[in-house]
Point group: C2
């Protein structure tokens, strides 16, 4: 299989659903719906929804459309967290995915509220997932643990606080595993839960997702140093000058690459426990390691 083609097709499909689900720009009050759509459609790989759907199919899930609301809700949550991260008070980023960030276009007040609105709408959408309510509840439990202070937000907080601290391998691992790893792991695990996978399968997905998330964030760090600004779509070399704790800063570029490779192998090992059905996830893990944007 051609993994690039697979990811492209999946992305296009998810974009169509996002287009369908999100409130139209004209809906009152128009400005907030414009801002929500602006950030959601400013690009993005749709990685988290793709992982959910791929894991869902890997455990034998057949009714993709039934779980599409949950898949798309992950992208909305991801977008909310980027909008807030980019705010002047936090990372103060003017560009994201090659376009001006929300607060540059709509002002800070609307950017904060657009993030909040995407977060809120994600839950509204998620509840439309067509699975038995007990299964949905379980999937939502996994999600909420991954996005709170024991997940994304915990990682973001230490990412900010860490700028004042000495680069330290333990802190670095905490930030990456929480800021990125937890959510990617949850995306894959939720796919397994919604697809009614066996306990062992779900466990393999959860672990593999966690490793893949770590590799993903380390590659992100590396691309910030060596990446082509046009391809990456945001200012590179930013981490180095801002004092952020990154893998290249702590281990050097080669050390960072070796660690990304190691996590990728661990992810592949986990996904291979699913047998032939884990093949696509293995390919995604490889692709994410080799990517240049």
């Amino acid at each position: 299989m051609d993994i690039r083609e697979y990811l492209k097709k999946e992305k296009e499909k998810i974009d169509r659903y996002l287009e369908k689900y999100l409130p139209p720009e004209g809906a009152y009050p128009s400005i907030i719906h414009k801002a929500m759509r602006y950030s959601v459609f400013a690009g993005g790989k749709r990685l988290r929804p793709i992982l959910l759907l791929t894991a869902y199919r890997a455990v034998g899930g057949k009714k993709e459309e039934d779980v599409m609301p949950f898949a798309c809700s992950l992208e909305l949550i991801h977008t909310y967290s980027l909008i807030h991260d980019d705010l002047p008070a936090i990372d103060n980023d003017d560009m994201r995915r090659g376009k001006p960030t929300s607060h540059k276009v709509f002002g800070e007040a609307i950017a904060i509220l657009a993030g909040d609105a995407l977060f809120s709408f994600a839950f509204e959408l998620m509840l439309k997932t067509r699975v038995p309510p007990g299964v949905l509840r379980k999937a939502m439990e996994v999600l909420t643990r991954a996005i709170g202070t024991s997940g994304i937000i915990g990682g973001q907080v230490m990412d900010i606080e860490g700028e004042k601290l000495e680069p330290d391998p333990r802190l670095l691992r905490y930030i990456h595993s929480h800021k990125t790893g937890a959510f990617i792991s949850a995306a894959v695990e939720i796919g397994g839960i919604l697809g009614r996978g066996k306990k062992k399968e779900i466990e393999a997905l959860r672990k593999g997702g966690g490793y893949m998330g770590m590799a993903f964030q380390i590659v992100d760090d590396i691309l910030d140093v060596v990446g082509d600004e046009k391809k990456v779509g945001k200012k590179t070399q930013k981490d180095a000058t801002s004092g952020k704790i990154t893998y290249p800063a702590v281990y050097g570029l080669d050390g960072a690459r070796r660690r990304a490779e190691r996590y990728t192998h661990l992810a592949i090992n986990s996904f291979e426990r699913l047998g032939k059905k884990g093949k696509v996830l293995v390919e995604i893990a490889k692709f994410l390691f080799e990517r240049d944007r």
Copy 2:
């Protein structure tokens, strides 16, 4: 019954549960858990949880402890929306409930993330409600509609945008019914749903809650003009100088009072449809109209 005593007892009970549910200050990363707790315990009437519990009992709900997670989650969502509202980019308020606002104490970055974390944790907590998952799903549907762009956020957006517009009775009603009415209505409706009320009862709760929410916000506007700063706990006279659209600004103080009274009567009429069981809600509606803080 003494409604003041009832509200005081309920508040104390809810505070105990909030104390139990929220992550401890020492949990890593400590700063974000401190910020979450700071705003939650900076005062507050706990009106939304009390309304949920009161409505729950009004339809015959007996296991209060089972629905306490949902009740408390409403207070967390309310607190998140206040933290974000107070931010410099939005209302730029330094004081709230007689104490410095989150961003004054923790800085803007942590204040934004503390709001996000409370929002996220509210959903994590809500999922612990001990009712059949189908009932929970229905209650969550009502909630998510009330807090998104068709509810609170829609109201906040027009509250901001409205400062640039001429005071207009229709816009004013939109802002108040969305910013405050929708959530208070949802609190009461959710209590009815979790208590497995009859369709007619839930409808009476929903409507009564909406009217009561309108009255509540109009009284808030009035207190901003005539209230004692020490009692109200925030800077008064602020709306008048900021160009915010308020009931006193559009209808004068007497006109605003008459309208608050009318909404209170409509709320009472709705709650009286529940018969004797609606008595406490009727008392709360009266109390909220007569309050001085």
